[in-house]
Symmetry: D3
């Protein structure tokens, strides 16, 4: 299993049945991202999305210092953030190139959201910039109490562009707070993140946070995959549509999903007070 998931910048492990653990593996550079890394991330989540041996996923960062310090600014200076003058004298042509690069970067981050299985992010240490984009694309965020968050982008002269500004206002219900942290780029800690609902739980240490994430993932993985994956999809659809379109889509979705044998398996095991097993999906 793990052999199938051998990557250069990420470690993939399977701590429990049906649970995958993706670890960002560039601890010497605070897990800062460059282009090859987000492309690899996109491949990993695309593969996990349809792997029947996986029913829930956790995402963490290697090392003690950071989940990720965000974009590797030095690397980006030769790419996305490079000086325009050195490249192309026509700002319109430069804009076309930038739009393609940003879209391609966004698509990689969005694989986390599009992944059919629930994704839990466990953060610690520096969790800056891209850390917010990435974790906002996940389903659930938890963290260690030492975590230091920031929507760091305005500090390097740009508006965040791979998801934070589109997803964060729909994750936490405090639009003033979102404006505050996005417009000031200030640091905020685990407790504040918990209070506004950006994270669901705070743990004493990184390893406890990871253990908590595994436990939560294992719980989800023990349920009917038809039910769990349908629930993720329907919640994401509803976020972006009216209640009425949500209800309609739900009725179409469940017109197939309710025909699953998981329902009788779940009901029967409920009566028999035992853990149900569900067919592969």
């Amino acid at each position: 299993m793990a052999e199938k998931y051998s990557y250069e910048h990420f470690n993939i492990a399977f701590p429990q049945e049906y649970v995958a653990h993706v670890e960002i593996n560039r601890p010497t550079q605070l897990n800062a991202f460059f282009e090859a890394m987000w492309i690899e991330l996109g491949q990993i989540f695309t593969n996990l999305s349809s792997d029947p041996a996986v029913r829930a996923i956790i995402l963490t960062g290697a090392g003690e210092k950071a989940f990720t310090a965000g974009l590797d600014v030095k690397a980006a200076s030769n790419g996305l953030l490079s000086d325009s003058s050195s490249k192309d004298s026509d700002p319109a042509r430069r804009a076309v190139a930038l739009r393609r690069e940003i879209s391609s970067f966004q698509d990689c981050v969005s694989t986390v959201e599009k992944c059919e299985k629930p994704v839990i992010v466990a953060m610690h240490g520096f969790s800056l910039g891209l850390a917010i984009d990435l974790s906002s694309a996940a389903d659930i965020r938890i963290c260690a109490k030492d975590t230091r968050f920031a929507v760091k982008e305005v500090d390097i002269g740009l508006a965040a562009d791979v998801g934070t500004l589109s997803r964060l206002p729909k994750i936490v219900g405090n639009y003033g707070w979102v404006k505050d942290v996005c417009l000031t780029a200030r640091l905020f800690g685990a407790e504040e993140a918990l209070r506004v609902g950006f994270v669901s739980q705070v743990f004493d240490t990184k390893s406890n946070a990871i253990a908590g994430a595994v436990e939560l993932a294992a719980l989800m993985a023990s349920k009917s995959p038809i039910a769990v994956q349908g629930t993720k999809e329907l919640l994401n659809w509803s976020r972006d549509h009216t209640v009425q379109d949500g209800l309609r889509y739900t009725s179409i979705w469940n017109s197939a999903a309710l025909q699953t044998s998981d329902i009788s398996a779940a009901l029967l095991s409920g009566i028999q007070k035992r853990k149900p097993t569900f067919e592969k999906l």
Copy 2:
């Protein structure tokens, strides 16, 4: 008045002028719902919606144990959740039948939201599955401190399909928490419900919760019904539309509503320090 509202599975009372109290009445079965009940519920809220003698509504469950334990699974096993093999060999035809059943069920629950008068739900004890769908369609949720909530559906192998997944993310501003409770089906209590904003108030006992609901309903019922019903409608419209479409719709709505005599009645009684009375609506 109460005679007009005589139903088999619900008790209807009028504890105060302009306030209706709808009680789910199947306490021996933890107020679990079967099809005839949700059809009746739909009829009740449709009738209350246009009854000029009603200006606010509370919804509660009979007995000490539960607001409602949700769907009566045994009854549903012969209907919605029945084994597909026993019915129809063609999954596409079975899907059509299921879609119609789900839509019809959704329509009954949605009468609570479409009811022109504010609806306050006071919960206690077990408040599982359909309890969340129903109360999410209401305007305000309060509860007794013994209430035990769960979005229970994944535990029986399905994604919730009569409103929770469409409405809950728009009621509480903590999308991670919504994902957590919907994907794990875990129980949560009154205090957690209060903290995330699912309920507005927690009372010591069921009877205090009901008294609180009646008081709140009576307060709303004392205001101009033109103003109160317009406010409910405009808030619901705005939830599902852009700010600009919200503003436009509001200006059209109020171009008629501002012509009400309630405004001068309210202003005059304000000056005279007495309680205004408003014409029937």
Copy 3:
């Protein structure tokens, strides 16, 4: 500078470089608004929006008693709220006139949201009715601990129509609370406003709140204006669109914005540990 901004009902000051302070100036009447005031307010924010000398704005109310008590009901009784019988015998023609008046009023309030620079509102004392509409159109709300808020409109027989019902549900993630305060018109205090996320911070006194607002504005004004103004715009767009439309719009926006010299200015000053300066915008 201040000369350019001389207005009848508002004081405009510039407490720090790039920071404008707009003060509602009708303290003898609790800063209650009549038509000429909201027209003037619209002109002020339209001008500030494109003034390169301004990068952040704070909005406050003069006097000790109120940020604003809302609409001047006496003045409105001759306009918006006047008795229909005295005006026009045809309710349809009266509706056209009302629609135009409401739309024009809404447009003035919306200049706060459309202003390209961040707007921070610091409230104190009575902050009723229009106070909620106005501050909901701003980016960040803070207040003194003596602030008394109410969505007061139903008490005078109408549904709020210049923004509260469209914006408040998208600012705070507690829809039950929004329904509660909008349907009952009850007062709520600074602490409750903080708890539900309507305000971000509570200060001991009005002057501390203003000082806090200036400090926050100055922080935003010290960042790249390309980054800050882009962030405000992208967050507002995303509030009203799907995540996917948000991502697409962001990539188009940043295809021009990433070509700014602010990025190298910001990166260089970061390396050199000094405060960057940015070209006019």
Copy 4:
């Protein structure tokens, strides 16, 4: 079969297997509608929608003179169009009553669109006002060459409100023509209706138009009902959504529908050069 469908103001016949013919039956009054009629119409189409013996429907008007001359203005003068002064002195309360009446009328007309089976309208003679609302809610419109159409509402002082203004611009791709006929209320004939695409075919006589409608309905009724009803639903969904939402909804819908045995039935009968038969739906 026909006994099940006995109505006061409509004749229902079954000219071919799986084809229902609904005839408006008030020829002495040019088939003009009053409230009881549109309520009955709504019941008829709701019933046909789920009747497995029906796979396509045609709608026509009795008598030689008119498909329908529209609203019975005399009857409406006591209801929808009655003088406001005689009813309620409060324009806001009158508006509530009107809104409920209009919505209820709209819901009846919309049953034609919501009907799961294709609906073909064959018109002749006067086809005014409500004739356009009704036929716009159908799937296909054909007519006799003597048909005289008009969006008549502005001639009686009102904007059409039961569907024409919402549906007509989405049916014909000539927005200038839609504006023209809606703003002038002028008559237009069969040829013009054909040229702009409002009708698909023009026949010499009413009886030929009906025969053509039956033939078209019979053709649709001979196809897989899973395929035909899915196609109607997906086209209607797509009209009101983006291409991307259309594609997504289609993939969910067909994930159940492609499991039908109709596909192998259709393929096999294609090979065997015979007419397929499909299970009831």
Copy 5:
């Protein structure tokens, strides 16, 4: 009346009661537009929109050669289209300036669409670029047979940006043709414009086209202004919303509009076979 409407670049006349005629008046330059002209156009249509003496408007161009040849490219070369190098070294700042200029230009053109009264454009001769933007914002387009149209923008190196690309696909129902003329910038004539539905009628001469426009405007102006203006608004709303949102908006709109005395005036004059008169609006 005409005195009230004295403008520098436009002639305003009132050929019939309630009908305004706006003529673009720069014939020596083929009525090509520069900034002061579109600002003036915006003012004119804003004023006409609320003038009770006006119920329908026609828009034409002075001189024999052109309705308008579009943007005055020479003038624009110093503004919108000026060489970027000469202005600002920072493409991001230049983008902000351009965005403001484009938005402001768009707003002027959109006053034609937002005008509460129907607008009929009668074109002749060269009708290029901005001619398409402007006429697409109107309700009805007619032309003389000598008219030569082109969506000219790609020929000067840009995508049309003041409305053609947003409105044209919603006016004519032939998306391939829209792509063709927008991507090739080719000329097309009156007959082709009629065939695809871009214009509603073709007249032999310019003066006949104007006479036709006046006649059509006069017809609309003879109807109830409550009905006509409501119809324009509801059609424009429906173009941009789902059928369901269209129906809902219509029911709210008409809940006030149906209270008009115009209905009884129209019905009575119908019975009495005389022309109704309607109160000012």
Copy 6:
């Protein structure tokens, strides 16, 4: 160039500078598609989309008999359309597999729409099923007079699911005709396709149609690629958004695009009466 574009099921040629010609190459099977073909098609259009040597594309089918007869039903019987019983006993799991297959198929077809360059489809002979899906995703459709079209899917028991039902109603403005051909699966010819606007031009022979397509493509390829590609994108965005969102998106897009040197190149060559050349894009 052509070497770079060597594919198994398609021939790629470059008949003119900047013009690519993609030919479906399975003439012995009427160019019917199986899975490997649509995957290859997706790769081709993704590559062409960003190739600076390509500015316009034409798509045709090899052989005399067919553009494409659609899905290769025999091949599909082992995949998408295979008998469900042979695969998976759980209809919900089968639905998941089907949804993934349909989505992946849709994504391949959508590469034609997402391709940044204009795509012109020239059809001839049988153009069934997938031929409509594919050509509807293109910008412009032309055909030979022998072309026989059909939305064939209902004849094999399914609703078209890779784009026709989502795109066709937005391409032709005759919704009744769309319903007719989609619900009956009947054949229609070149003349009918021209009349309803599905194709823009009809040519005598296949080779003339291809010559016409090349000429049209060459014309587009001679224009500023910044202007042409922006126009395609803005038209596609506007199709799926309100006019207001269209205008806003346009202003953002052009805030970068107007900074192109193509404008001065185009203007200068216009003055000098010579053909402009534009930088690579």
